[in-house]
């Protein structure tokens, strides 16, 4: 979020409210749950870090507003963010350890854990698919929902592989 805000400011300076509107637009349906307070907090942190600077602009009929613009250092940060290939943490390692732990401790049945997880993932997938289907098809932000759906799909497939493996170990 921090870098995305910097990137928007790298395009052109904006005050907090404008920035919030642009972010909301870029996020499509997810923009609904954007926390406005978070935007202002992030802006002041970015300013402290020297990545943006602000100017007070006087307004006739309203209080002064703060217009933020990106610093050269901030611009550099945006460029390196764009090229960074790190990817959010994925769940397999932890879930695999859960299955192993369930089996060795006898505290849970691995197959039951797989079933419960699949149920939960399919519920989310169902909801995400509905959101994607309801969104206007020309909204680029639908790609966020499609990406989420594809990941959930991959996770459910992986649970099938877990099930095949753990079924053969199950005491008959």
């Amino acid at each position: 979020m921090r870098e995305a805000m910097l990137a928007l400011l790298a395009k052109e300076p904006a005050h907090g409210y404008e920035l919030r509107q642009r972010l909301t637009r870029a996020l499509g349906p997810i923009g609904e749950v954007l926390n406005p307070g978070q935007i202002y907090i992030t802006l002041s942190r970015l300013e402290k870090a020297g990545l943006v600077r602000s100017d007070q602009v006087a307004q006739a009929a309203a209080p002064d507003k703060k217009v933020y613009e990106v610093t050269p250092q901030g611009r550099e940060q945006v460029a390196s963010w764009l090229l960074d290939v790190s990817w959010p943490k994925v769940a397999p390692a932890e879930f695999h350890l859960k299955l192993v732990a369930a089996a060795v401790t006898g505290l849970a049945d691995p197959i039951a854990l797989i079933d419960a997880q699949r149920r939960d993932l399919l519920r989310r997938l169902r909801d995400v698919q509905r959101l994607a289907q309801a969104a206007p098809s020309d909204d680029d932000a639908v790609l966020i929902l499609e990406g989420t759906a594809l990941r959930l799909q991959a996770d459910v497939r992986w649970l099938e592989a877990c099930e095949r493996r753990w079924t053969t170990r199950r005491p008959q």
């Binding site: 997810i30 749950v33 079933d115 519920r123 989310r124 698919q129 289907q133």
Partner: protein, 246 residues
Amino acid sequence: MTNFVLQAKGLSRHYPGDGVPVRAVDTVDMAVETGEAVSVMGPSGCGKSTLLHLLGGLERPTSGEVWLGGQRVDRLSETGWARLRRRSVGFVFQAFHLVDELSAVENVELPALLIGASRKAARGRALGLLERLGVAGRAGHLPDRLSGGERQRVALARALVNEPLLVLADEPTGNLDSGATAQILRLFAGVHEAGQTLLLVTHDPRVAATADRLLTMRDGSIVEDVRLEGGLSRQALLAQVAGWEP
């Protein structure tokens, strides 16, 4: 009283095996309400396709009963089943069974003509479905000029042309890329909204997730029957998608 469109009572299908019979479907009890969308998942060989074949009259049970809209159908003659399939049950198979001599649109409109729809109405419905499935541009082609994925969508359109009360589908997205799968999912959502009942046997999580209810099969039995709807609120879901959950 609950309005079941489909019911199985003690339904079994055993095949002769090496010494011990194989219980492909083993005393299954299930009921599907009118307008429900139900998916059936389970590992390969769990009996889910056989169950669908029993429910659609493609195979005969070893024992047990199948009820469709209040009528017992497991002892119906082949002609009786053919009539049911034409009017009230749409069946989407893994194998497509299109008529080779007919074009895509002629294949789709055939079941409508067979129940007495006018040529114009049948053609209109057929083209509408092909359009929604993204294959309207191929309407005039014979099946052997179509790709596997296109044939599959034509077969799906044919199964839906008479707006059957009940749609039974076996791996409806088996050969499709993700774009074509999305079109099928949208169509299923529309079918479901229109109040038709869906029973989907699938490996594909995206297909399974179009349903309200999930049945899980293992070794010929239904081991789990859960509802999929009513999870998170819209706000909570969006926050989760965005990765902003607390």
